[in-house]
Subunit: 141 residues, 2 copies
Amino acid sequence: MFMRIDHIGIACRDLEEKIELFSSLFELEVVAREVNEEQGVKEAMLHVADGEGGGSYIQLLEPLSEDSPVGKFIAKRGEGVHHVAFGVPDVEGAMATIGGKGVRLLDERPRHGSMGSRIAFLHPKDVGGMLTELVEAAKQQ
Amino acid sequence: MFMRIDHIGIACRDLEEKIELFSSLFELEVVAREVNEEQGVKEAMLHVADGEGGGSYIQLLEPLSEDSPVGKFIAKRGEGVHHVAFGVPDVEGAMATIGGKGVRLLDERPRHGSMGSRIAFLHPKDVGGMLTELVEAAKQQ
Protein backbone atom coordinates (compact mmCIF):
# COMPACT_ATOMS: atom_id res chain seq x y z
CA MET A 1 0.00 0.00 0.00
CA PHE A 2 2.75 2.46 0.95
CA MET A 3 5.38 3.20 -1.71
CA ARG A 4 7.47 5.60 0.36
CA ILE A 5 7.56 7.97 3.30
CA ASP A 6 6.57 10.96 1.18
CA HIS A 7 7.24 13.74 3.65
CA ILE A 8 7.46 14.95 7.22
CA GLY A 9 5.30 18.06 7.69
CA ILE A 10 6.87 20.48 10.17
CA ALA A 11 4.88 23.38 11.62
CA CYS A 12 6.90 26.59 11.93
CA ARG A 13 6.28 30.22 12.79
CA ASP A 14 8.55 31.69 10.10
CA LEU A 15 8.85 29.80 6.83
CA GLU A 16 11.79 31.76 5.43
CA GLU A 17 13.79 31.36 8.64
CA LYS A 18 13.20 27.60 8.70
CA ILE A 19 13.98 27.18 4.99
CA GLU A 20 17.31 28.83 5.69
CA LEU A 21 17.90 26.63 8.75
CA PHE A 22 17.05 23.29 7.15
CA SER A 23 18.76 23.99 3.84
CA SER A 24 21.96 25.17 5.51
CA LEU A 25 22.11 22.49 8.21
CA PHE A 26 21.28 19.53 6.04
CA GLU A 27 22.23 20.70 2.53
CA LEU A 28 18.65 20.28 1.31
CA GLU A 29 17.26 22.06 -1.73
CA VAL A 30 13.87 23.77 -1.94
CA VAL A 31 12.04 22.23 -4.89
CA ALA A 32 8.60 23.84 -4.49
CA ARG A 33 6.87 26.66 -2.68
CA GLU A 34 3.19 27.38 -2.58
CA VAL A 35 0.35 28.97 -0.65
CA ASN A 36 -2.49 26.58 0.12
CA GLU A 37 -5.43 28.78 1.14
CA GLU A 38 -7.68 25.76 1.69
CA GLN A 39 -5.30 24.41 4.34
CA GLY A 40 -4.35 27.83 5.65
CA VAL A 41 -0.61 27.48 5.10
CA LYS A 42 2.28 28.71 3.07
CA GLU A 43 4.76 25.95 2.55
CA ALA A 44 8.00 24.75 1.04
CA MET A 45 9.17 21.28 0.03
CA LEU A 46 12.83 20.39 0.62
CA HIS A 47 14.04 17.36 -1.27
CA VAL A 48 15.63 14.59 0.83
CA ALA A 49 15.96 11.61 -1.51
CA ASP A 50 14.44 9.64 -4.36
CA GLY A 51 13.44 6.01 -4.40
CA GLU A 52 11.63 3.57 -6.67
CA GLY A 53 8.35 4.72 -5.13
CA GLY A 54 9.04 8.45 -5.63
CA GLY A 55 10.64 11.31 -3.75
CA SER A 56 10.89 12.01 -0.02
CA TYR A 57 10.74 15.53 1.37
CA ILE A 58 10.68 17.74 4.42
CA GLN A 59 7.64 20.00 4.18
CA LEU A 60 7.79 23.27 6.12
CA LEU A 61 4.42 24.79 6.99
CA GLU A 62 3.76 28.32 8.20
CA PRO A 63 0.15 29.07 9.18
CA LEU A 64 -1.63 31.89 7.35
CA SER A 65 -3.57 32.69 10.52
CA GLU A 66 -3.62 31.75 14.19
CA ASP A 67 -7.00 30.04 13.87
CA SER A 68 -5.89 27.74 11.03
CA PRO A 69 -5.18 24.10 11.95
CA VAL A 70 -1.40 24.62 11.86
CA GLY A 71 -1.74 27.91 13.76
CA LYS A 72 -3.68 26.14 16.51
CA PHE A 73 -1.16 23.30 16.54
CA ILE A 74 1.73 25.71 17.15
CA ALA A 75 -0.21 27.57 19.86
CA LYS A 76 -0.83 24.28 21.68
CA ARG A 77 2.34 22.27 21.06
CA GLY A 78 4.92 24.64 19.64
CA GLU A 79 6.90 24.20 16.46
CA GLY A 80 7.73 20.66 15.34
CA VAL A 81 6.40 17.62 13.51
CA HIS A 82 2.78 18.23 12.49
CA HIS A 83 2.08 15.18 10.32
CA VAL A 84 3.65 12.32 8.38
CA ALA A 85 2.72 11.54 4.78
CA PHE A 86 2.99 8.22 2.95
CA GLY A 87 2.95 7.80 -0.81
CA VAL A 88 0.24 5.55 -2.27
CA PRO A 89 -0.44 4.63 -5.89
CA ASP A 90 -4.17 5.43 -5.67
CA VAL A 91 -5.44 7.74 -2.96
CA GLU A 92 -9.14 6.86 -3.35
CA GLY A 93 -8.28 3.16 -3.16
CA ALA A 94 -6.18 3.66 -0.03
CA MET A 95 -8.92 5.78 1.58
CA ALA A 96 -11.48 3.04 0.88
CA THR A 97 -9.24 0.26 2.21
CA ILE A 98 -8.15 2.10 5.36
CA GLY A 99 -11.58 3.64 5.98
CA GLY A 100 -13.06 0.17 5.63
CA LYS A 101 -10.91 -0.93 8.57
CA GLY A 102 -12.56 1.63 10.82
CA VAL A 103 -10.12 4.56 10.59
CA ARG A 104 -11.86 7.93 10.44
CA LEU A 105 -10.99 9.92 7.31
CA LEU A 106 -10.68 13.67 7.81
CA ASP A 107 -11.46 14.18 4.11
CA GLU A 108 -14.45 12.75 2.30
CA ARG A 109 -12.64 13.08 -0.99
CA PRO A 110 -9.03 13.84 -1.94
CA ARG A 111 -7.92 17.42 -1.87
CA HIS A 112 -5.10 19.40 -3.39
CA GLY A 113 -1.64 18.78 -1.89
CA SER A 114 1.89 19.94 -2.60
CA MET A 115 3.27 19.81 -6.12
CA GLY A 116 0.02 18.80 -7.75
CA SER A 117 -0.55 15.76 -5.53
CA ARG A 118 -3.91 14.47 -4.32
CA ILE A 119 -4.07 13.89 -0.58
CA ALA A 120 -6.29 12.81 2.30
CA PHE A 121 -5.77 12.85 6.07
CA LEU A 122 -6.53 10.12 8.61
CA HIS A 123 -7.67 10.86 12.15
CA PRO A 124 -4.61 10.76 14.43
CA LYS A 125 -6.52 9.05 17.25
CA ASP A 126 -7.06 6.04 14.98
CA VAL A 127 -3.39 5.89 13.92
CA GLY A 128 -1.47 5.83 17.19
CA GLY A 129 -1.55 9.59 17.72
CA MET A 130 0.10 10.35 14.36
CA LEU A 131 -1.71 12.74 12.00
CA THR A 132 -1.29 10.69 8.82
CA GLU A 133 -1.57 11.89 5.25
CA LEU A 134 -1.97 9.74 2.15
CA VAL A 135 -0.36 11.21 -0.97
CA GLU A 136 -0.88 10.27 -4.60
CA ALA A 137 1.83 12.14 -6.48
CA ALA A 138 1.01 14.11 -9.61
CA LYS A 139 1.40 12.10 -12.79
CA GLN A 140 4.69 12.96 -14.42
CA GLN A 141 4.30 14.64 -17.81
CA MET B 1 24.14 14.45 3.44
CA PHE B 2 20.77 12.69 3.82
CA MET B 3 20.27 9.50 1.82
CA ARG B 4 16.72 8.77 2.95
CA ILE B 5 14.09 9.33 5.58
CA ASP B 6 15.14 6.28 7.57
CA HIS B 7 12.24 6.07 9.99
CA ILE B 8 9.49 7.78 11.93
CA GLY B 9 9.75 6.88 15.63
CA ILE B 10 6.31 6.61 17.24
CA ALA B 11 5.90 6.46 21.01
CA CYS B 12 3.22 4.03 22.16
CA ARG B 13 1.96 2.56 25.40
CA ASP B 14 1.51 -1.00 24.13
CA LEU B 15 3.92 -2.24 21.48
CA GLU B 16 2.02 -5.41 20.56
CA GLU B 17 -1.25 -3.53 20.16
CA LYS B 18 0.35 -0.95 17.88
CA ILE B 19 2.21 -3.57 15.82
CA GLU B 20 -1.16 -5.20 15.20
CA LEU B 21 -2.73 -1.82 14.33
CA PHE B 22 -0.06 -0.59 11.93
CA SER B 23 0.51 -3.92 10.22
CA SER B 24 -3.19 -4.54 9.67
CA LEU B 25 -4.08 -0.99 8.61
CA PHE B 26 -1.19 -0.41 6.26
CA GLU B 27 -0.10 -3.93 5.30
CA LEU B 28 3.37 -3.39 6.79
CA GLU B 29 5.66 -6.20 7.86
CA VAL B 30 7.67 -6.32 11.09
CA VAL B 31 11.30 -6.84 10.11
CA ALA B 32 12.99 -6.44 13.51
CA ARG B 33 12.20 -6.37 17.20
CA GLU B 34 14.56 -5.56 20.01
CA VAL B 35 14.89 -4.26 23.55
CA ASN B 36 17.24 -1.29 23.86
CA GLU B 37 18.00 -0.98 27.58
CA GLU B 38 20.26 2.03 27.00
CA GLN B 39 17.36 3.99 25.50
CA GLY B 40 14.76 2.45 27.80
CA VAL B 41 12.52 1.06 25.06
CA LYS B 42 11.31 -2.09 23.45
CA GLU B 43 10.74 -1.54 19.80
CA ALA B 44 9.73 -2.91 16.43
CA MET B 45 10.63 -1.83 12.90
CA LEU B 46 7.93 -2.05 10.23
CA HIS B 47 9.21 -1.88 6.67
CA VAL B 48 7.67 0.82 4.45
CA ALA B 49 9.83 0.93 1.33
CA ASP B 50 13.32 0.63 -0.13
CA GLY B 51 15.24 3.22 -2.09
CA GLU B 52 18.72 3.73 -3.49
CA GLY B 53 19.76 5.15 -0.14
CA GLY B 54 18.37 2.26 1.92
CA GLY B 55 15.14 1.27 3.61
CA SER B 56 12.43 3.37 5.24
CA TYR B 57 10.54 2.20 8.31
CA ILE B 58 7.99 3.00 10.97
CA GLN B 59 9.60 2.40 14.36
CA LEU B 60 7.25 1.68 17.25
CA LEU B 61 8.63 2.45 20.72
CA GLU B 62 7.21 1.31 24.05
CA PRO B 63 8.96 2.71 27.12
CA LEU B 64 10.46 0.24 29.59
CA SER B 65 9.63 2.61 32.46
CA GLU B 66 7.72 5.82 33.07
CA ASP B 67 10.89 7.77 33.82
CA SER B 68 12.59 6.83 30.53
CA PRO B 69 12.69 9.52 27.82
CA VAL B 70 9.87 7.90 25.84
CA GLY B 71 7.87 7.31 29.03
CA LYS B 72 8.15 11.00 29.92
CA PHE B 73 7.25 11.98 26.36
CA ILE B 74 4.02 9.96 26.52
CA ALA B 75 3.13 11.36 29.95
CA LYS B 76 3.53 14.90 28.63
CA ARG B 77 2.28 14.69 25.03
CA GLY B 78 0.52 11.36 24.64
CA GLU B 79 1.21 8.74 22.01
CA GLY B 80 2.45 9.89 18.62
CA VAL B 81 5.52 10.91 16.65
CA HIS B 82 8.54 10.99 18.95
CA HIS B 83 11.37 11.57 16.47
CA VAL B 84 12.36 11.48 12.82
CA ALA B 85 15.51 9.73 11.59
CA PHE B 86 17.51 10.42 8.45
CA GLY B 87 19.99 8.04 6.86
CA VAL B 88 23.56 9.30 6.46
CA PRO B 89 26.58 7.52 4.96
CA ASP B 90 28.86 8.40 7.90
CA VAL B 91 27.36 9.28 11.25
CA GLU B 92 30.56 10.76 12.76
CA GLY B 93 31.01 12.92 9.68
CA ALA B 94 27.41 14.14 9.82
CA MET B 95 27.72 14.84 13.57
CA ALA B 96 30.85 16.89 12.96
CA THR B 97 29.34 18.84 10.06
CA ILE B 98 26.03 19.56 11.79
CA GLY B 99 27.59 20.18 15.20
CA GLY B 100 30.01 22.57 13.52
CA LYS B 101 27.01 24.65 12.44
CA GLY B 102 25.98 25.17 16.06
CA VAL B 103 23.43 22.39 16.54
CA ARG B 104 23.67 20.74 19.94
CA LEU B 105 24.32 17.00 19.75
CA LEU B 106 22.58 14.89 22.39
CA ASP B 107 25.24 12.21 21.95
CA GLU B 108 28.97 12.79 22.16
CA ARG B 109 29.59 9.67 20.14
CA PRO B 110 27.34 7.34 18.13
CA ARG B 111 25.34 4.78 20.01
CA HIS B 112 23.60 1.56 19.15
CA GLY B 113 20.39 1.90 17.11
CA SER B 114 17.91 -0.49 15.53
CA MET B 115 19.13 -3.36 13.36
CA GLY B 116 22.80 -2.82 14.08
CA SER B 117 22.83 0.84 13.04
CA ARG B 118 24.92 3.60 14.61
CA ILE B 119 22.93 6.66 15.60
CA ALA B 120 23.09 10.10 17.19
CA PHE B 121 20.38 12.57 18.19
CA LEU B 122 20.24 16.32 17.59
CA HIS B 123 18.66 18.76 20.03
CA PRO B 124 15.08 19.43 18.88
CA LYS B 125 15.28 23.12 19.80
CA ASP B 126 18.04 23.57 17.22
CA VAL B 127 16.11 21.72 14.49
CA GLY B 128 12.74 23.45 14.38
CA GLY B 129 11.24 21.51 17.28
CA MET B 130 11.88 18.10 15.67
CA LEU B 131 13.85 15.53 17.64
CA THR B 132 16.17 14.44 14.84
CA GLU B 133 18.18 11.24 14.64
CA LEU B 134 21.07 10.52 12.29
CA VAL B 135 21.36 6.86 11.26
CA GLU B 136 24.27 5.04 9.68
CA ALA B 137 22.87 1.67 8.68
CA ALA B 138 24.74 -1.53 9.48
CA LYS B 139 27.05 -2.63 6.69
CA GLN B 140 25.39 -5.38 4.71
CA GLN B 141 27.18 -8.69 4.97
